[in-house]
Every structure is written in C-alpha cells, then in structure tokens.
C-alpha cells in the first residue's frame, strides 16, 4: 500500500515536472525568438524588411561595415557615450548626496521636501517638454549636449533619490553614530561608511543613468537639432520610422551594437541590480 502511493507520487511528480519543463521551454522560445531574429537579420543580405525571413539564406558582415563607413553611426555612438557618461557622474553624485541627507538628517522642511519629491517623481519630465524647451532656449542650451545632460541629470533626481534613500535606510544608523563618536565629519561618514555599504544601489543608479540616454529619443529629438549632434536612439528610430523597409538590416546591425554592450553590463552587474531593486523599492 505504502509502496504504491510512493510509486504513484513519483510518477505524478515526473509528469508534473515534464509539463513544467515543457512550459519553460515554450516561454524560453518566445523570449529568445525576437532576439535571434534580429541577430540573424543583421547578417542577412539585402536591405529590406520585405525579403526578410526568419533564417537568412546567406550571411554577410557588410551591414556592420556600412554602419561605420557610410552612416553617421560612429558619431551618434560617441555623442551618446559622452552624454551617458556625464549624466552618470553628475547623476550619481547629486542623487546619493541627496538621499544621504534625507536618510540621516532631521531638519526643518524635511518632510515637506520629501513629499514634494514624491509628487514630482510621478511627473514624467516630458509632460512639460514645451516649457523645458523654452527654458533651454533662454539658457542658450538648445542643440547642445550639455543642455540634454542637465535635463537628464536634474530630471532623475526625485525618483532616484527616493530609491537610494530606501536603500540607505537599510544601513544601520548605529554605524554612523559610532563613527561620529570617533570624530568623523559629515562627508567622511558618507564616503567611508555609507558608500561602501551601498554598492548595489550605487551600481543600479549609475547603470540606469548611463543607459537612459541610449534609449531616450524624446528629449534628443526636442533639443538636438543639427545632424552631427544626434544620439543613437534618434538615429536608429528614424531608420525604422522613415523608410523602414529599406534600412531594416542597418537597423538590425545598429541595434545589436547598442544592445550588446548594455547587455554585457547587465550580465556582469546582475547581482547588484537585483539586490538594489528589491531593497530600494520595497523599503522606500
């Protein structure tokens, strides 16, 4: 009796696991298929979407060569890299200092400021893009990369400061109090105690600030006017939006060259991202 139930249970578990594996494989195919298609397409001969099939008949590297010799792609790449880099540096410094202050100090107006930030973070900055454009016109920062960097770096403060503060709350306050007793100053505590312990969230913020400019096309389209100032997202989007059919393979190759570095960053930093996300978001 006991034996049969054991066998039955084993059989049941086997069937169940087989079904689960089946579902897992199915989902994996759905997840991977578009990725594989675009990778293969970038090696496909010809330029048009119309003749594109899932499996190209003949492979070629010509589109990658074209990207660097016949298009503005390298210029866009450098522009984007520059904007992303400075946005990351400025963004991380301002955000962490803000979060540190809100997390560790009690001062007049703190609560009001925090509620203000909470409300502002919900307002996507492109809702007020007309006004931002007027502001940049005033500051003579239209068609300038720095205008874009400032808009990005300032716009991310409310949301990211909130996220980082959530993470900082998880670092025991007794640590800074002990350091304070030992005579450490405000900034020393910040650099020597908080920052090393906050690595995951710092990585997350740096990464999101770095990757943001690669994919945003709203602000570059609004702010950057001249051909050689364009960023990758705008350039690539225009390939698809305009005469999509004819630039399809260029789009595929360009997309890969954008996605792969980012993907590698993600893979390397995966642990930090997961930790930063779960701790910052749930403790906010």
């Amino acid at each position: 009796m006991a034996n049969t139930t054991k066998v039955q249970r084993k059989l049941l578990r086997f069937i169940e696991n087989t079904i689960v594996y089946g579902i897992l494989i199915l989902i994996a195919i759905i997840v991977i298929l578009p990725v594989v298609w675009i990778v293969l397409s970038s090696f496909q001969q010809g330029t048009s979407l119309y003749s594109s099939t899932f499996i190209p008949k003949k492979l070629t590297l010509v589109h990658y060569k074209e990207l660097f010799t016949k298009t503005d792609f390298p210029i866009w790449y450098m522009n984007t890299l520059k904007i992303a880099f400075f946005n990351m540096i400025i963004g991380v410094i301002v955000t962490t200092l803000t979060a540190y202050t809100f997390s560790r100090y009690r001062f007049r107006g703190r609560k009001e400021m925090m509620i203000g930030m909470l409300i502002l973070q919900m307002f996507p900055s492109f809702l007020s893009m007309t006004a931002i454009f007027v502001l940049l016109t005033k500051l003579q920062l239209v068609d300038s990369h720095w205008g874009l960097i400032i808009v990005y770096a300032a716009g991310q403060i409310p949301y990211n400061a909130w996220l980082v503060k959530g993470y900082f709350e998880g670092i025991p306050k007794s640590l800074d109090e002990a350091a304070r007793v030992d005579g450490a100053g405000h900034l020393t505590i910040f650099w020597k105690i908080i920052m090393p312990l906050a690595r995951p969230i710092l990585v997350l913020i740096a990464l999101t600030n770095f990757t943001g400019p690669w994919f945003d096309f709203i602000f570059p389209k609004l702010i950057l006017r001249s051909r050689f100032k364009k960023t990758l997202a705008v350039g690539i989007f225009e390939w698809v939006q305009g005469r999509a059919d004819n630039n399809f393979t260029l789009f595929a190759a360009g997309s890969l060259l954008v996605a792969i570095p980012i993907l590698i960053l993600f893979v390397f930093l995966q642990k930090n991202i997961v930790e930063g996300l779960s701790q910052g978001a749930t403790k906010g």
Binding site: R13, L127, V134, V151, A154, S278
Partner: protein, 429 residues
C-alpha cells in the same frame, strides 16, 4: 536707544545696515551688495512681472520686406515667472538679514561670545550641512522639474496653439478656464478625451496585471522543487529586461508589420496576412501582449526575491495541517507576496499609465481613426499629448491634459505613499 531696536531699524532701511551697527562689516558688506543687485534688478523685475500679466501687446508686423519683431508672449511669461522667483529670493534674503542682525545684537546685549570669521563659517557648515548638501538637488529640481511644471500649468490657461496664436508671429492671451471647458463640452475634444482616457485605464490595468501575473508564473516555475538549472532558466527569462525596451519594441514593430517576417511566413503557408497593427482591436491586444513580454521579467526578479523571504516554517505547518499545494499558494504565498509588492504594483500601474514608449514605438498610436482629434486608435493620453505638442502645436490643450494626468497620477502615488510602511513609521520619512 537699545542696540536691538537700532539694529532692526538699520537692517530694514538698508540691507546689511544692522550688521554695520554691530561692527560685523564683512557680513554687512555681503548683504549690502545683495541689496545693491536688488535695486539694480528692480526695474527689470517689475517690467517682467507686468509682462507676465499682459503677455505682450505688440504683435509682429511686416513692413515691406522687413519683419519687425513684436512681443514673444511665451518668453515673456517665462521671464515673468523667473522675476517673481527672483523677487521671492530677495525677500527671503532680506528677512534673513534682519533676523541675523537681530540675533547678533541680542547676543551682544547678553554678553555672549559670537562666532566670527572662520569659526562662524565652520559653525554655519555644521549647522546647515543638510541644506548645503541638498542645494544642487533643490536647484535642479526647482528649475528643471518644478518650474517647467508650473509653466505647463500656466500654458493650460492660455490660447497658445497653432495656427493663430504662435509666437513670435502672433500673441498669446490668457483665456481662463476656456480650455478646460472645451475638453468637457466641445464635442470633438470631449469625445477624443473620453475614449482615450478609457483606453488608457484599460491599457494600464491590463499591462500591470499581465506583467505581474507573468512575473509570478515565471518566478514560481523557476523556483519549483525538482526543477533543474534554475539559474539558467532565470537568466534566459531575464533577457527581455536586459535588452533595451527601445530596441525590443522596434523589433516587434517590424516583426509583426504588414511586410514583416510573421506575415511573410503566414503567406508562404498560403494563409491570409493578419493585420496585427492595423486592425484597431488586434492592435490594442498586440501592444498589451508585447508589453507583457517586455515587462514580466522585472516582476519575476522582484517576486523571486520575495519568495525566498517567505519562511519555510509556514509551509511546513500548512503541510502538517494537510493543506494542498493550491491551498498553500492561495493562503500563504499569494497574500504575502501581494502584501510585499503592493507598493511596486501601484507604482507600476502609474508608470504604465504614462508609458509613452510602449505605445509610440510599437504603433505611433495608429491605426488612424478620423473621428478622433489628432489621435489614433492605440493612442493613450500621453502619446496624444506628445502629438498635440510636437506635431500639432496645441500647447494650451496639451497643458490641460498634462494637468489631468498629473492630478490622477499624483493622487494614486500619494494614496500609495500614505498607506506605506515608511509613512506610518514616522521616523522613516
């Protein structure tokens, strides 16, 4: 006369005056200098504030072949707001200088030692450290987030729009609540707004629900007992999260387009092409499904983390009580997960509500519907707003929609916040 009264009077008459009375010359000079810049800027401040009220009265004119520039209403509005901010700044410094001088006088009267020079600066830094650290963030947020929002709100009360009210060619006027009335009463606007608002809510609810459900399924499957290579499965499923949405959405747009490979494949099997993005209903279903592809992995990460936090003793106890696995899921896993992830869930709803890229990159808001004003079938409110602003220059109306979106989103997030843990634990906020 008493030192304190004298100080007050001098401070009121001349900025920094009170400091001179008490022989704090450097500080006095500092305030005096700020006072000078105020006097220098005052005519401009007054003129700009007047401009804010009138929004200009000389339109651009053409004489022969020359264009004579008139008033640029929107820049005037902008200058006006900046001037008001500047005025408030001066007022704050003015009152602070009086307060500071009185404090010094008071301390002298009491015979207390007063910090000067370097000691004062150190004390000031220690005392005001939080505010000094927040200055970049506050300035950035005021000028690049709050000020644009304010201007946007103000634009909602003007007739700033194509074709007749576009500076520098023509003037813009304050119109009060006219735009708000139009969006409720004027048939073409009200009809479009109503339909788009309805679809936006459906879209936001459906994507949030499916993303969460999808993430939950992925998390549960990859955490299931007896499944091997858990890490391998997870790293495959996390792929859509790592591939930039910008690119993956464009890839889907091409993949399912009329001449794309999916339709080519159907055609090669002798089947009819499917109008994935051109049939109104199908297009809506497609954008929701594709966004599940892109959005579920985020929740898988989040839920996988939360699952490991649920104590295994709960399940052991349930097993002893004879609970089936479904009952365990229904009464232990799900409630605890929902409790932990509720804030993120609500934030995600708010995010999807304004998820511009998800719609714009896939369909541009198309297919077209001629009964909708400046909008297509899959347009949500934000993409409509974008079109109104960039393509059709209906800035006034766009301002109204911004305000509505803002009010809606802000109330959701405030509700979310007030019931969150950090709000209730007073010290955390």
């Amino acid at each position: 006369m008493k030192r304190k009264q004298l100080t007050t009077i001098f401070s009121i008459v001349v900025m920094g005056g009170g400091h001179f009375v008490n022989k704090f010359f450097l500080k006095g000079l500092f305030f005096f200098f700020i006072g000078l810049t105020f006097i220098y800027n005052l005519p401009g401040i007054l003129q700009n504030t007047a401009g804010l009220i009138s929004l200009g009265d000389t339109p651009q004119t053409v004489k022969g072949f020359d264009i004579i520039q008139g008033d640029h209403s929107i820049l005037m509005m902008f200058d006006g707001v900046i001037s008001v901010i500047l005025f408030i700044f001066y007022a704050l410094v003015y009152f602070y200088s009086i307060k500071d001088a009185r404090r010094i006088a008071e301390q002298i009267e009491k015979g207390e030692t007063i910090l000067r020079g370097k000691d004062y600066l150190i004390h000031f830094y220690e005392e005001n450290f939080p505010k000094i650290m927040l200055t970049p963030a506050i300035l950035g947020t005021i000028f690049f987030t709050a000020l644009p929002i304010l201007i946007t709100i103000m634009i909602a009360f003007t007739n700033y729009s194509a074709p007749n009210h576009l500076p520098p060619k023509s003037l813009v006027d304050w119109v009060g609540f006219q735009n708000f009335i139009n969006i409720i009463k004027l048939k073409s606007w009200a009809g479009t707004f109503g339909r788009l608002a309805g679809w936006t809510v459906i879209w936001a609810v459906a994507t949030t629900f499916l993303n969460y459900a999808g993430g939950l399924v992925l998390a549960l499957l990859t955490a299931k007992k007896g499944i091997k290579f858990k890490g391998f499965w997870r790293s495959i499923f996390v792929l859509p999260y790592a591939v930039p949405a910008f690119i993956s959405l464009l890839v889907f747009r091409l993949m399912f387009s009329g001449v794309g490979p999916v339709n080519n494949m159907l055609a090669s099997f002798g089947l009819e092409k499917i109008p994935f993005f051109t049939d109104p209903l199908l297009a809506k279903i497609m954008v929701i499904l594709i966004n599940t592809w892109a959005g579920a992995p985020y929740f898988m990460i989040l839920i996988s983390g939360s699952l490991t936090n649920i104590s295994s003793s709960l399940y052991e106890a349930a097993e002893i009580d004879g609970a089936t696995r479904y009952e365990q899921f229904r009464h232990i896993t799900l409630p605890l997960l929902l409790f932990q992830t509720a804030p993120v869930l609500i934030l995600s709803f708010a995010y999807n509500f304004n998820n511009f890229g998800a719609i714009y990159l896939l369909t541009d808001g198309n297919p077209v519907n001629s009964s909708l004003k400046y909008a297509g079938e899959t347009d949500i409110l934000v993409t409509w707003l974008y079109k109104l602003t960039l393509d059709h220059q209906q800035y006034g109306m766009a301002g109204v929609i911004s305000i509505i979106l803002f009010a809606f989103i802000a109330s959701i997030s405030l509700y979310n916040f007030t019931r969150s843990k950090s709000f209730k634990e007073e010290d955390m906020i």
